[in-house]
Symmetry: C2
Subunit: 428 residues, 2 copies
């Protein structure tokens, strides 16, 4: 009988270093929880000659074959990030009979279904709590505590970079470019911020969340996606005047026997719990038929919070190994459709620059009415006397994406419309 | 082999009716999740002649012996509330080899330790997720998702009645009596509100939370407790001016090799997540060495949210029954002390009415300084020219309860002090 549970780590970067440190600092506690010590046996790196803090140089290797060729390795922790070669390594580990714990949102969003099936075939587990919301517990609440509920909606703030930027824009009245520069200066945003500000990162995480909440396979490219790059200081001013703030919301909902999934900057009433989630915090709100709305909030990134989630998964698998339990992670997926964006229904906020002439509003209202889009409110916020233009902010009742797009095309074609400045969804 | 999992329900009140309705509405889903249907076999009532919505009259009984004499009953759901006879019935059910699911905070706080030991002796499970925070998942995050962390603090808003009242006082500037009358009118507060407004209900829940978070047995009477009845509209005005709001916080913390536990109205900075938890919402904030702070928020009471938690426990046990798994709920308790209130360290807010004369502040400051209590701020808020009195609000740096009590005794004895109006803890 082995005297420890053997681990391998792929990718000792920032999070990996956090996991190594936690394994060292918490060793006695984890050994007690698991029933045997957790022991790091192999660490896959790009450059084995570079010394690594707290890692014995003898266990460094640059070859995945070395890792999977070591029979003492029972759990593989994948923290490389990116799709390739992480995906191939995860698959190889599962096929070799190793349990895998990963924080890789891109791989889990794009190929999670296939990889979970491979894990099931090989009677091993693939766990990925750290791929969504850092250390915030999401997976076991959904798979245990909320099991009595039909989950009807998941609404989340799952990108800390953009939430930091939007909080700054809301509180300081800054414009997008200023907020981005500040986030980059602080290291919250990458030099190329595309994955964050275009909602790509959030769409991966939402795809994973939808699988857990609704038991439906949602591919990242089935998530309707709108970035935050067109938001201006004035959108926050107008939203504020209407009683709202703006958040990049990732939303999945059961609708008409299917699922809708979107990541988009959204006006949300200031007294909603999600409206109060500020800075780099993440939050996941789950709506169930019995429980109503529950919200989980915490730090969604960083070495330590992510290590917390990775190690919870490792301890869970290690306990199974020690107890000789057979894994049972199979989620039966439901065969219900993922609706295209045209079918989404939402309330909308439209900011339109028009010529300051009589009858302009009547023409826009007529177009919206013709598409059966009811207007909830109209406010003329600012006029530019020199240009003889005015800015209208129109909010609508619920309408489909298709109806809105058709109406917007007609509105843009009006000679009195200078520009449709921004179109945003409204929560609720 | 049985074709269903047999349940008995003790106490078909408000929550019980919710559980019965959910068992009916979710029957197909639960049968799929468990592997067998859940079937209600016995319902213990006070009056078996009174018809109950959705319950076959043939399974009603007024005798616990009837319930426990039915060999088809495998799980007993206790929703009677109160200490007696619920405690005795839970014990009898466990001793007869039945798993028990309960929402009973009083029993679990006062005798949870003994009952869990009895469950372990009889190889059955005693689950109690519904006893804290209604439908908010708390137990499985603590027992699974946050397991890699050393939990250092739990801070919670776990009494919806008082949070509704305090939210009203903060937002509308009303006084305690008005807020209480409003809560009673809406049915949020009982005709006798003692258990809520004196923090007794919250102290039960905190005792349970401390057991889960720190693995230490905390008895409800070891929780330092201060009610909200002395709070006035002016306390909220002054707190607001200082950048704070006031919440009834239930706090457990590791400190000096022991645990401190308190339920008390507490000034909390307005930008803290817990400060934004309003109305009847509950929230539990957990602090771990890796994850930092995570917050769980939702409706802490009501038939449906509580049913959500009760049924999650029922499904969990039922799955074990179907899989033939042996329960493993034993929490090994740590033998560390629970510190008395005199040892607690906190910042404090003191509201003191003094005669409007020179040198008064110097004398109060001298007393505090003599007890090594540093003053953080002093504001003279209001003066009453007729009475020639002024109201001082003093905030302090961290001090022990013992030092504060000694200082307060001296301050009260000063001839220039008319009254110590209120003394409140400050979070942070």
């Amino acid at each position: 009988m082995p005297t420890s549970v053997g681990l391998a780590l792929l990718g000792p970067g920032n999070v990996g270093a956090g996991v190594v440190a936690a394994l060292r600092n918490g060793a006695a506690r984890y050994a007690q929880q698991v029933g045997r010590p957790l022991e790091l046996r192999r660490v896959l790196v790009r450059d084995a000659s570079k010394p690594r803090d707290g890692i014995d140089a003898a266990i460094l290797t640059t070859s995945i074959d070395d890792v999977l060729g070591d029979p003492s390795v029972e759990i593989v922790i994948e923290l490389m990030g990116g799709e390739h070669p992480a995906r191939e390594y995860i698959q190889a580990a599962l096929e070799s009979g190793r349990h895998v714990v990963t924080a890789n949102k891109e791989v889990m969003a794009k190929c999670g279904r296939e990889l979970l099936a491979i894990a099931a075939q090989h009677h091993v587990r693939l766990l990925y709590e750290a791929s969504v919301g850092g250390g915030i517990p999401v997976i076991s609440p959904l798979s245990r505590d909320l099991l009595a509920n039909e989950i009807t909606a998941v609404t989340a703030i799952i990108n800390g970079t953009t939430n930091y930027m939007l909080t700054g824009m809301a509180q300081q009245g800054t414009d997008y470019a200023v907020a981005l520069a500040e986030a980059q200066r602080l290291g919250y945003a990458e030099p190329d911020p595309t994955a964050d500000v275009e909602g790509i990162d959030a769409s991966y995480k939402l795809a994973i969340l939808c699988g857990l909440a609704f038991h439906v396979a949602v591919a990242p490219d089935q998530v309707a996606r709108q970035g935050i790059t067109r938001l201006g200081a004035r959108d926050f001013r107008y939203a504020d005047a209407l009683g709202y703030t703006i958040k990049l919301l990732a939303t999945g909902r059961l609708l008409d026997g299917g699922v809708v999934a979107s990541v988009q900057p959204t006006l949300i009433a200031k007294d909603e719990p999600l409206a109060k989630v500020d800075g780099v915090l993440n939050a996941v709100q789950i709506e169930g038929d019995l429980v109503g709305r529950v919200l989980f909030q915490g730090r969604g990134a960083g070495a330590n919070p992510t290590s917390s989630a990775v190690l919870a998964d490792v301890i869970d698998v290690a306990r199974d190994i020690v107890a000789g339990r057979t894994p049972t992670d199979g989620i039966e997926l439901r065969a219900i459709p993922v609706h295209p964006p045209a079918d989404h229904r939402s309330r909308y906020y439209l900011r339109v620059t028009v010529q300051d002439r009589p009858n302009v509003l009547a023409r826009i209202a007529g177009i919206l009415g013709g598409r059966e889009i009811s207007i909830a409110s109209v406010i003329q916020f600012e006029t530019d006397d020199d240009a003889r233009t005015a800015e209208l902010v129109i909010t609508t009742h619920h309408a489909t994406g298709a109806a809105l797009d058709a109406a917007l095309a007609e509105i843009r074609a009006l000679d009195v419309v200078v520009e449709v400045g921004n179109v945003l969804a409204m929560a609720g």
